[in-house]
Amino acid sequence: MLPFLKVLARNLRQGPSTDPFPFAPTYTPARFRGRAELDAEQCILCGICRHVCAAGAIQFRAAEDGSGMEFRVWHNSCTYCGLCAHYCPTKAIRMTNDWHLSHKGEDMYSFAETKFVKLGQCAECGATIQPRPAAIVEKLGARYPERFMLCPKCKRETLANHAASRKVIRVEEAR
């Protein structure tokens, strides 16, 4: 008559199913999307993370001396959607599975991940260019690594020199 009594009896037999947290540690799935983390060494400042961030949690700020950009994820605006990590071309942003984020109210505006991303330097003239971390060099600059590390101006010059030298060779061959 009361089908539910069976469930109750089983519950009693099986004992509590309560997770011991907070008195003991609990499980966290590996894929859990928690606090976002930036590996400043990998960042190329392409800005796609800021472009896809629906909550506007990711912001950049130029350093006063122009040596780099300050990257900031404000965790209290972040929606932990993971789009930034998904679209990051160098996988510099990563969603860790850290969810221990509760904090006191007075810290709510400063609760952010702040990393300083140094701008790259042209191997030739020393002008600031986009950062050129190893990951991106391997991916995009693999064919001409030395040229990839140059600023646009120096790159133009090397290209022109290169073409000129090729022309010279060709002229010599023709001869």
């Binding site: 008559m1 009361l2 089908p3 539910f4 469930v7 109750l8 519950n11 199913s17 799935p29 894929r31 859990f32 999307r33 472009h51 896809v52 961030c53 629906a54 909550a55 929606t79 932990y80 959607c81 993971g82 789009l83 998904h86 679209y87 969603m95 599975n97």
Partner: protein, 361 residues
């Protein structure tokens, strides 16, 4: 106590998950009329959608509502794909169905669980929610969040299901199946549930058509309309399932329709895991969205979800409009509630599976 008086319910009422204001005229314990005042969760999301770019809108639409939070981005992506003529890889389509059905099981179990809570049957509520946790584990384990999966993106999905995840999901489904059956048995035979819910909040078919209700509410009133069958999307054409419907149109039959759909969803996920072909899960590169208009529809847990997209060729939608299932079902409460008892009000409201944040956007 026999005179007519007004019983305000809401906006911050314990029986409602969300703020909604009901102005209910009561005579003794009987409801005479009902007035609705909405807008407490109106967050102006349609205007936000017009300020965000297409990719940001995937996340924004997911936050329309957390209970059908996968249907929104997937239908939005479908609208964008229809407009741009993007063909989603087949594996991604299967993965989208899996995400949708996982959410459906969790959403339906939540609804029937809350129903038990509203009749004061807290043990059954806890049992249903505990069973729902199995699905929550799947969501957290596979997608990384218990509510907002973030599974879809334009042109595909973001999460693949490898062999290990496949086994994990199958294990969880095996664990779920006997529980679902048992819960269905309890809801069909428990005397208290029967006493409280049968014949309550009846919506006859004619009224259901007049109000244009959708989803389990329509199906429990004899309208066997399921978008997954009527206009198949993703891979529903290749999957084997029935439209669950009923003719009684009361609170109880709505709950049963939901439970049967949850059982179907388990089988749908299993079929997907079985049939899923190998291949890419996402487009290689992002496609430009041309100017034009497109419509996409899907069957969210609460019923037909509709997206209309108007693009002007820029990287933000010119107009993105969506109509959620609950939007159509609210007005039907007028018919369901007239003449019911005060004790039945929360039950009836819950039986349309109200999603206020969906409705008001």
């Amino acid at each position: 106590m026999s005179g007519t008086y007004t019983l305000p319910i809401g906006p911050l009422h314990v029986a409602l998950e969300e703020p909604m204001y009901f102005d209910i005229k009561v005579k003794g314990e009987t409801v005479e009329s009902l007035g609705l005042s909405a807008g407490h969760v109106h967050r102006g999301m349609e205007s936000l959608a017009m300020q965000r770019n297409y990719l940001q809108n995937v996340v924004l639409t997911e936050r329309v509502c957390s209970l059908c939070s996968n249907s929104h981005p997937s239908t939005y992506c479908m609208a964008v794909e229809n407009l741009a003529g993007i063909m989603v890889p087949e594996r991604a389509q299967y993965l989208r169905v899996i995400a949708d059905e996982v959410k459906r099981i969790a959403s339906h179990l939540f609804n029937v669980g809350i129903m038990a809570h509203l009749v004061g049957f807290d043990s059954l509520f806890m049992h249903a929610m505990e069973v729902r946790e199995i699905m929550q584990d799947v969501k957290e384990g596979v997608y990384g969040n218990r509510m907002n999966l973030g599974a879809c993106t334009i042109g595909g999905v973001r999460y693949d299901i490898d062999a290990e995840m496949n086994a994990f999901i199958r294990g969880k489904l095996e664990e779920l199946k006997p529980h679902l059956e048992e819960i269905y048995g309890i809801y069909t035979t428990d005397p208290l549930i029967l006493k409280r819910t049968t014949g309550v909040g009846v919506l006859p078919e004619a009224d259901a058509r007049r109000y244009g209700v959708v989803g389990p509410v329509a199906r429990a009133s004899g309208i066997a309309y399921d978008v997954r069958k009527k206009t198949p999307y993703c891979t529903y054409k290749e999957l084997n399932f029935d439209v669950q419907w009923d003719t009684k149109g009361d609170v109880h039959s709505r709950a049963l329709v939901r439970l049967r759909e949850a059982v179907d969803s388990v089988s749908l996920i299993e079929q997907c895991l079985e049939q899923m072909p190998e291949g890419p899960i996402e487009l290689e590169r992002f496609v430009e969205i041309p100017e034009g208009e497109a419509v996409a529809r899907s069957e969210a847990p609460r019923g037909e979800l509709f997206y209309y997209l108007r693009s002007d060729g820029s990287d933000t939608p010119h107009r993105l409009k969506w109509r959620v299932p609950t939007y159509m079902n609210w007005e039907a409460l007028q018919t369901m509630m007239t003449g019911c008892q005060v004790a039945d009000i929360p039950l009836i409201v819950n039986s349309i599976d109200p999603c206020i944040s969906c409705t008001e956007r």
